[in-house]
């Protein structure tokens, strides 16, 4: 055979192999769906158990995302308050604010005038009469300094120390400890979420694995027939891999729907909580991307569980 003939044979056999592969996969795909449809209750139970198992880390992910967002927002609202001396001139305060804005460890600086401070005080319950009784404004200028986002605690402490020694500064107030605790809480939550996700992913693998194992045991006769008429190990296993994929995909959809329901149920209380922070907190749910990824990840888990179990059980039945 010449090189040209060999090339031509390869060119012909490649589409043939692809067609064979497509025909076999189409049959296995249909066979897997028929098998799941043949026992709807068992399939539904597997999907629901796996769906609930996957919904937990997904919900935790949602809570954590919001907590992280909350920490960031609180970080901004808990900016460092720099109280100027009462005799500080507006021009000097503005100049100092400008200097601070040039610093790398400062994200933003805003000026709160004595008039604004008095107005805020007057709006608080029980203070209106006391403020009205004053014949002058005793409040100083305040510089609200926001540290750079995600700045380490040591850097924030260094900034506070630097602010304290600035000319014209009377007092520096910071709620850094509280913010550190919140950050630590979010970090711990992230770890818990990862551990929980791993454990529940393992649980999902076991659930799918057990279902596929039962499917294989229930189809021992069929598997024997398939092997006798020339089915390869891969062909026999393929419907079970597809079944695992369907279990995973369906349970991922269930998990996403459950989390969406939880989101809707919590939307009211969370909205009120957000409003209590003056509308600065934007509490949100999972994104469309995240909701799409959940079923895909679950489908992979289902396929993996089916692959692990089917390899072992079909080898045992050989």
């Amino acid at each position: 055979m010449t090189t040209g003939e060999r090339k031509s044979t390869t060119m012909r056999s490649r589409p043939r192999r692809l067609a064979t592969w497509r025909e076999q996969h189409a049959w296995c795909l249909a066979a897997s769906m028929q098998r799941l449809a043949a026992r709807p209750l068992g399939t539904a139970l597997t999907v629901l158990v796996m769906g609930f198992a996957l919904a937990l880390p997904l919900a935790f992910w949602l809570v954590l995302g919001n907590l992280e967002h909350l920490a960031g927002t609180v970080g901004r609202t808990q900016a460092i308050n720099v109280f100027m001396q009462t005799q500080a001139r507006p021009e000097a305060v503005a100049a100092l604010a400008g200097e601070l804005r040039q610093r790398d460890d400062v994200a933003a600086v805003s000026i709160r005038t004595p008039a604004q401070g008095l107005s805020e005080l007057a709006s608080m319950q029980g203070f209106a009469k006391a403020v009205a009784a004053l014949d002058y404004n005793p409040l100083p200028y305040v510089l609200v300094v926001e540290p750079r986002q995600h700045a380490p605690a040591a850097a924030v402490q260094a900034l506070i120390a630097a602010l304290r020694v600035l000319p014209g500064v009377d007092q520096v107030q910071d709620d850094g400890t509280w913010r550190q605790r919140l950050d630590a809480l979010v970090d711990a939550g992230q770890r818990v979420a990862v551990v929980l996700a791993l454990l529940l992913a393992l649980a999902a693998l076991l659930v799918v694995g057990n279902s596929v194992r039962q499917d294989i045991r229930g189809c021992a006769g069929e598997i024997a027939v398939l092997k006798l008429v020339g089915a390869s190990h891969a062909f026999v296993r393929r419907p079970y891999l597809y079944a695992g994929l369907w279990y995973g995909l369906a349970s991922g959809v269930v998990a996403s729907v459950l989390v969406a329901i939880v989101e809707m149920a919590l939307a009211g209380p969370l909205g009120r909580l957000a409003a209590s922070y003056g509308g600065q907190l934007a509490l949100g749910g999972l994104t469309w991307w995240q909701l799409l990824m959940a079923p895909l990840l679950a489908a992979f888990l289902g396929w993996l569980g089916a692959r692990l179990v089917s390899a072992r059980w079909l080898r045992r039945m050989a």
């Binding site: 067609a19 064979t20 592969w21 025909e23 076999q24 049959w27 043949a38 006769g221 069929e222 024997a224 027939v225 398939l226 092997k227 006798l228 008429v229 020339g230 089915a231 390869s232 190990h233 062909f235 050989a318």
Partner: protein, 243 residues
């Protein structure tokens, strides 16, 4: 039927290329049971041979060796010139696709239609759907069951189920057809009908090996007969001498 062997046990002179060849084949199970002992015979292309003997004589073991379900303990089993002892686990499915197998208990998938059962070997071979449909209908027509293609095998009689099994065995146009007690569950009339089908397949060049203990049926068919007794081949009667 004669009892003495007509052929020497060793080194049979081959005037043709045998499709099936057993050369000094023995099979021992781990339990110590000797299922076959030094069995040697050949089957020519397009020949139909009955393997007979009492229950436990080794008929099924002989077929299992040909289908690579079992491996011989000693000796050599060849199919189409291929030494089956050298066939690796990955090549066994390819080997089985060359064979058609018919079983006493039909081994049909009861949750699938007749069509789907017969289609199975073609799906495994990766044949396109339209070609599969054409071949399945041709096979069902040969066994006279075209009208039942949409039915479940459970809705058919035992004889019809056996014919579905035969259709599945021949749909891939195998060069060799193996049948293990194919008429075991059938009444004499249906058994003759099934054997008539086998004879028709032989006419178109298929090599057929049938394990059966139904001597009356074997005599009626007038084909070559290999006789086993406690795992030993005790006779090999040519078709012309079967009476």
């Amino acid at each position: 039927m004669r009892v003495a062997s007509r052929y020497p046990r060793l080194h049979v002179p081959h005037l043709h290329r045998a499709v099936i060849r057993f050369d000094q084949v023995s099979k021992h199970y781990p339990s110590g049971q000797e299922a076959l002992s030094q069995v040697s015979f050949e089957v020519a292309p397009g020949e139909m041979v009955f393997v007979t003997g009492h229950s436990g004589a080794g008929k099924s073991t002989l077929l299992k060796l040909l289908a690579a379900i079992e491996k011989p303990s000693r000796g050599r089993v060849s199919l189409d010139g291929q030494n089956l002892a050298r066939v690796g686990p990955h090549a066994v499915p390819l080997l089985r696709r060359k064979l058609g197998m018919v079983f006493q208990d039909h081994r049909l998938l009861m949750d699938r239609s007749v069509f789907a059962n017969v289609e199975l070997p073609l799906v495994i071979a990766g044949m396109a759907a339209d070609e599969r449909a054409r071949r399945v209908r041709a096979a069902l027509e040969k066994v006279g069951l075209l009208a039942t293609e949409g039915k479940s095998p459970e809705a058919l009689s035992t004889g019809e189920q056996q014919r579905v099994g035969i259709a599945r065995a021949i749909v891939g146009k195998p060069t060799v057809l193996l049948a293990d007690e194919p008429t075991g569950n059938l009444d004499p009339h249906l058994a003759t009908e099934v054997m008539g089908l086998f004879a028709a397949f032989q006419q178109v060049g298929t090599t057929i090996l049938v394990a059966s203990h139904d001597l009356a049926l074997i005599k009626r068919m007038k084909k070559r007969v290999v006789v086993l007794d406690h795992g030993r081949m005790v006779d090999d009667v040519p078709a012309v001498e079967v009476a």
